[in-house]
Symmetry: C2
Subunit: 251 residues, 2 copies
DNA sequence: TAGGTGTTTTGACATGGATCAAAGCGGCAG
DNA sequence: CTGCCGCTTTGATCCATGTCAAAACACCTA
């Protein structure tokens, strides 16, 4: 069991790249950790965020159980977070894109709680947690914003609990599509046309559904004129109709 | 709609009590925010945590949408957190007991994301967030531990996502009972006999099940000799059997 | 003590989504 | 170009849990 883990670890190290990160020039600045910081504060943060790391599609940024020492800001790319249960069943607990922070689950117990797997070739900025702690004792804007990002992760997860606990299949999928749309729009992409980076099975895992159910819902939405789907490409045709499904409950 | 809210708010204010909190003497110290602080640091924290507030059974500590300004440490009692969806459906997102922190969901957006409702008469310590921020810039042990508590809340929630996303009804309920057992034990209560503070419906809401399903699972566990149940009183008879249900997956 | 209200249990039945199965599609390697 | 493999779609059937209903029970107040 330990052998393949090690091998994977090393191959990850091979693609590790040390590049100057430079939050100050990053176009994701306002979505990411430095949001709201002054120029001077940005420079301090830049000194801390000094390593960029490339992760190839299919590789892990970190895996459950590994020692926690850094959090990661996604510079480009797309990740899934996955928790594996003792008996082998697993669940996708989230999808993350540029400007979002990964790894905050590790602070509590000093080791990561989930795997973060790249769904496309990606680049992340490493932020050593101990230095982030130090710096956020000095830069209150950073402290504040870091707390906000943790808190928003808590709120995001309770939203997912709502999906999983009370919504029916089609509502979950409508909510998922609208969520993707809104986050992509915030990053300057089209809100109405996008490529999904994950498989139907991964969507299903995230939403507590089987891949066939996801596929059927897509077909249904297509037939109802709400979306156009071609494999991983999705075009939202009737966003209002989609919102109705997800806000409009039991008929 | 606004009227009853206001009335409720005021009745909460009536039971607001200002008492010296004194973490230094609190027997939940090691489970709560001050865990791991030195004597001197504890005194600083005591200066900040200066208000205790009594919440009667059925009342809210805070409600979704209210302005966030404090987090709360539960001194005694029991709470549920509940998110209400636009269409009226709601979900219990957690149960909280002594030593646990409530309200961290409010930091991200400046207003609370859920209701925190007392399931028995309770006492909480109010911790003004702005002063906590200040103090944790000075006391790194406090900073560290506060981050840990936020992170653990993230991990706890991904555990619930796992419950909701991949487990079947009886597994969820076994997991729920074992979780209660373990948290009560950590607080010095019996791990094998306890009173549930919540109804079957609230358990069901938390676990994404209907109250009848919860009731049937309890009956089934009783018939199988795993537990004894009498209304809200639960006695775990065969803890190993219970663990088998929850760790033992698809047969 | 009696009546009322909210909670729990249990039964009978319905159904949404899972499961099983097969075929279609698309991309990659040889 | 061909064959393979992973992903997706669609159909047929099954079953875990939801829904509806009724009775028992517990607790509170008068």
């Amino acid at each position: 069991m330990a052998r393949p883990e090690l091998a994977r670890q090393q191959s990850t190290h091979l693609v590790l790249a040390e590049l100057k990160a430079a939050c100050a020039n990053c176009n994701l600045r306002e979505l990411c950790l430095p949001a709201g910081l002054s120029e001077a504060e940005l420079d301090q943060l830049d000194a801390l965020v000094n390593v960029r790391r490339k992760i190839k599609r299919g590789e892990s940024l970190y895996r459950a159980g590994e020692t926690f020492d850094s959090i990661y800001a996604i510079r480009s790319g797309f990740f899934k977070s996955r928790v594996t249960y003792e008996d082998g069943r697993d669940q996708v607990t989230g999808f993350s894109m540029g400007g979002e922070i990964l790894g905050m689950d590790g602070i509590g117990q000093g080791s990561h709680n989930c795997d973060a797997v790249a769904l496309e070739d990606s680049i992340v900025c490493s932020i050593p947690y101990l230095r982030l702690e130090e710096l956020s004792r000095e830069v209150s804007g950073l402290q504040r914003h870091f707390h906000k990002m943790m808190s928003r992760e808590i709120v995001r997860e309770s939203g997912v609990m709502m999906l999983l606990g009370v919504m029916r299949a089609e509502e979950r999928i409508a909510a998922f599509l609208l969520n993707m749309s809104q986050r992509l729009e915030a990053r300057g992409y089209s809100a109405l046309e996008f490529h999904l980076r994950m498989t139907r099975e991964e969507i299903g895992s995230y939403l507590g559904l089987k891949l066939e159910t996801v596929s059927r819902a897509f077909s249904r939405f297509h037939a109802d004129g709400l979306i156009a789907v071609d494999q991983k490409f999705v075009k939202i045709v009737d966003i209002k109709g989609l919102k109705d499904i997800y806000a409009h409950h039991v008929s």
